[in-house]
């Protein structure tokens, strides 16, 4: 931790990111500055191809940056080794994907317990924690179902339980309601926001739905690789 001031959870300074396609450099993010404090809830808005998913992947330490400085919870992400990044993801970040990304061969409780297994928790303890987490998202009756036996909304609840089981400081959700019908989507957003409040966990949601975005503290629009705060609401 920074010893002078209480640092923001996320601090991006002058981030650039692009991809090389057929020898042409295609910039995705250009000179992005962004600060997010612990406990905030943020919406990342933008059209397809605007770079919002790339920004989310960088925030979640799933992708590297080409230039700039990224500090996450006091760690200098740019100088960390892949295994250190894996450990930070394991302990500090929970992911909720649009397509759920559950492991189809594992049942619900095994899927939820998976992040705990990567921090050497005993299987018994991990199952117990996973069971509690399933109860919190309302899936305690489905502990031994495979993802294929669950509905879309149930799968996303399962994914949220998996994201939360390690008690992370940040939940990153990439269009979490994109594959769900409107009613279920509302339930999922309610769940995410209530968890944000109950656990004081920072929430970043990528969405193109302004109705969803309005339910969060901050709305950040990504346009052609640049970020713009729409409604800065200091926490």
């Amino acid at each position: 931790m920074n010893n002078t001031t209480i640092e923001s959870l996320i601090s991006l300074k002058g981030i650039n990111k692009g991809y090389k396609i057929n020898n042409n450099y295609l910039p995705i993010l250009q000179d992005v500055f962004l600060t997010i404090k612990t406990g905030e809830s943020c919406a990342l808005l933008g059209a397809s191809g605007s770079g919002k998913s790339t920004l989310l992947n960088i925030l979640g330490l799933l992708d590297s940056v080409d230039a700039g400085e990224y500090r996450f919870a006091g760690h200098d992400v740019c100088s960390a080794t892949p295994d250190e990044l894996a450990a930070i993801r394991n302990q500090q970040i929970g992911f909720v994907f649009q397509s759920f990304n559950l492991i189809p061969r594992l049942n619900a409780i095994e899927n939820v317990a998976l992040p705990l297994r990567y921090r050497s928790m005993k299987p018994g303890d991990a199952r117990q924690r996973a069971q509690q987490m399933l109860a919190e998202v309302g899936l305690e009756q489905r502990a031994h179902h495979r993802p294929a036996d669950l509905s879309g909304g149930q799968r996303q609840r399962l994914a949220i339980a998996r994201a939360l089981v390690g008690q992370p400081s940040l939940i990153l959700a990439d269009e979490p309601t994109g594959n769900l019908d409107p009613g279920t989507a509302d339930d999922i957003m309610d769940l995410l926001i209530s968890l944000n409040r109950a656990h004081d966990v920072t929430l970043v949601v990528v969405t193109h739905d302004s109705a969803i975005a309005r339910r969060l503290n901050r709305q950040i629009r990504v346009t052609n690789g640049a970020v713009q705060e729409l409604c800065p609401c200091p926490a």
Binding site: H75, E84, A87, R89, R105, S120, P123
Partner: protein
């Protein structure tokens, strides 16, 4: 940073739990993978074992050949003028080679023999009493010739010949008389069945053995063509053969002596063995490539289908070592079980094949280790390598579809 260091002491128990649940949940796919691996492994094991059994079967022809027996082939200048020998003095050869066990000359003519009105063509072998030990013959009835029989008209009859000459109701017995040309010979012994060997140019089963003197009665010019020699096992056979060349040349009418030694045949055998070894190597290599490719495909498919899963696991905090260990243990477990089943299957197949081909079955020492280890090696490499490659990607690349 220390708080977020990856868990170094992740216990083996956890890993085993992961692997067992992962294999259990692989379900049908792991059964298919196992099948592919087992077929690959069994083809290597069966191929190598069958080839070794075939090689062994081929070399059986040379088995049972005495290694301390050899044959001297005598050439004579003009057979017509030299009269046949009445006697053969073994003593002079014993002087040249002290460890000589037996030395027996053989003269040969073909003649028609008659017993109780039944007439047959037979090989007549004129020799001495030493032939029995030199050729390692055994008697069914009576006795063999001795040095005291030189003047007698005695014969010893080979097994098949005795069977053919005698009838079911009146078999040939010792004491019976056989007519050869115009002489009557008395049967003093009948030999036991004796398969032909490559080395000794006498078909014992179809031959009639008589003394050199008796031979001279039938064919006054029959020459000694081959001398069959047996030395004691501690005797250097090449030296004995060399030492005997000169004394044999002293025999009247002999112009040249050619030695037929068992190791010349052995050389032929080892050339044949070498050919078989190369064949075996080629068969083994081809089945290794074939079986290995099968195992490789199975493992590659298994891993590439799970690239996204690798990405998810990395997002959830698995470090490279976790991915590597998981896939390595899965690959080892899958290929070990597959290789074991394949080994059993391959040996079973080789046994069936040997049984159907009337070969003697034995377990080739290279078959199981080669089949099992190559399967393990190929399986683990191709099960692990793509997973390690995937774990080196940025997680977002592994997560991306295709």
């Amino acid at each position: 940073m220390s708080r977020v260091m990856p868990g170094r002491g992740r216990s083996a128990l956890l890993l085993m739990h992961d692997v067992s649940s992962s294999l259990r949940t692989l379900g049908k796919r792991s059964v298919l993978a196992l099948l592919g691996i087992a077929i690959g492994s069994s083809s290597v094991v069966a191929m190598i074992n069958i080839a070794s059994n075939a090689a062994e079967e081929a070399s059986m022809i040379f088995k049972g050949m005495g290694v301390n027996t050899f044959v001297a082939h005598l050439s004579t200048a003009n057979e017509k003028r030299t009269p046949a020998y009445a006697t053969f003095d073994a003593g002079q050869f014993r002087k040249a080679v002290p460890n000589l066990l037996n030395i027996a000359p053989t003269a040969y003519v073909g003649a028609s023999v008659v017993f109780k009105g039944r007439s047959l063509n037979a090989d007549l072998i004129g020799s001495t009493g030493e032939l029995m030990d030199a050729m390692d013959l055994t008697l069914r009835a009576g006795r063999f010739m001795s040095e005291f029989d030189q003047g007698e008209t005695y014969v010893v009859v080979g097994h098949s010949l005795a069977e053919t000459l005698g009838a079911a109701d009146e078999p040939l017995r010792t004491g019976d008389r056989i007519r050869i040309n115009n002489y009557l010979f008395q049967v003093i012994g009948i030999l036991q069945d004796r398969p032909d060997t490559l080395l000794i140019p006498i078909r014992a089963n179809d031959s009639l053995f008589l003394t050199l003197n008796g031979m001279r009665r039938i064919s006054p010019l029959a020459q000694i063509r081959n001398v069959i020699i047996r030395v004691s096992p501690d005797q250097e056979i090449n030296a004995a053969a060399t030492a005997l060349v000169d004394p044999l040349k002293q025999l009247p009418g002999v112009t040249d002596v050619a030695m037929l030694l068992p190791h010349q045949l052995m050389d032929g055998m080892s050339r044949q063995n070498r050919t078989f070894a190369y064949l075996l190597l080629a068969l083994g290599a081809i089945s290794l490539v074939g079986g290995g490719t099968g195992v490789m495909n199975v493992m590659l498919m298994n891993v590439t289908q799970r690239r996204r899963e690798i990405g998810v696991r990395m997002a959830l905090g698995a470090c490279r070592r976790d991915i590597r260990n998981l896939f390595m243990l899965e690959a080892i477990t899958l290929t070990a079980v597959g290789a074991f089943c394949g080994g059993v299957l391959g040996i079973g197949f080789a046994f069936m094949y040997a049984h159907l081909s009337d070969w003697t079955f034995f377990l080739a020492p290279a078959a199981l280790p080669l089949g099992v280890i190559s399967t393990l090696g190929v399986g683990v490499f191709f099960g692990l390598y793509p997973a390690v490659l995937a774990s080196r990607l940025q997680p977002v690349e592994a997560l991306r579809d295709e």
